[in-house]
């Protein structure tokens, strides 16, 4: 089992550019979560999918962030017009989604730096 795969591991963008981050969840897991981690804010929830359907995007900055899950093996997080405050490690996690099993399996993260 390869675990959750995130690409790219590091991305540097200029202010105003677009950034797209990819996540491949563990095969067979039905839930996919996106979090953002910074020193100041800690681990912030962004959005999550269950069986590819968007369930909750209450943590997403609405204007510039979007997430999709076009198939069960792939999710993307897109940030338009990136700003320096978007600099963070973006973590994707998947979960089996079974009742009473809430363990999140995190990927290694994508470190985004906005200059």
């Amino acid at each position: 089992n390869a675990g959750v795969i995130q690409t790219p591991r590091h991305k540097v963008t200029g202010k105003g550019q677009e950034a797209t981050l990819w996540c491949e969840p563990i095969s067979g897991h039905s839930a996919v979560f996106w979090y953002r981690q910074t020193i100041v804010q800690g681990l912030e929830f962004l959005t999550y999918f269950r069986n590819q359907a968007p369930i909750d995007d209450s943590g997403m900055p609405k204007e510039r962030f979007s997430a999709q899950m076009p198939n069960q093996s792939h999710s993307t997080l897109k940030i338009q017009s990136t700003q320096p405050q978007d600099s963070a490690v973006y973590l994707c996690a998947s979960s089996p989604g079974l009742v009473n099993t809430g363990q999140l399996y995190f990927g290694e993260g994508s470190k985004l730096t906005v200059l």
Partner: protein, 112 residues
């Protein structure tokens, strides 16, 4: 508003001591409480978890104590080792199928 709070922010203990990390929450509908451990440069990984039906959960040197009335949990690490040095996050969710809210973490350093 921080729904899950942790204290202390950082902690240094000697090897062999018992470490106590604290967590509290506000939402009484939370019923699943995992603790994750994150080593520098790595991602969080589940360490141990407890649900509302239990008051205590033990796994080797790691034990969660749960005071439901006060909405407080504590993670005890007995015989702390330098390899336990990491940041520990307490999390909570309404049920195991929703997203987990994370505390701000406690950075633990165990000194030989």
């Amino acid at each position: 508003q921080q729904q899950v709070r942790q204290s202390p922010q950082s902690l240094t203990v000697w090897e062999g001591e018992t470490t106590i990390l604290n967590c509290s929450y506000e939402d009484s509908t939370f019923d699943y409480f995992p603790w994750y451990r994150q080593f520098p440069g790595k991602s969080p990984a589940l360490l141990i978890a407890i649900s509302l039906v239990s008051n205590k959960k033990e796994d080797g040197r790691f034990t969660i104590f749960f005071n439901k009335r006060e909405k407080k949990l504590s993670l005890h690490i007995t015989d702390s080792q330098p390899g336990d040095s990491a940041t520990y996050f307490c999390a909570a969710s309404v049920d195991s199928g929703t997203y987990q809210r994370f505390g701000t973490g406690t950075k633990l350093q165990v000194v030989p």
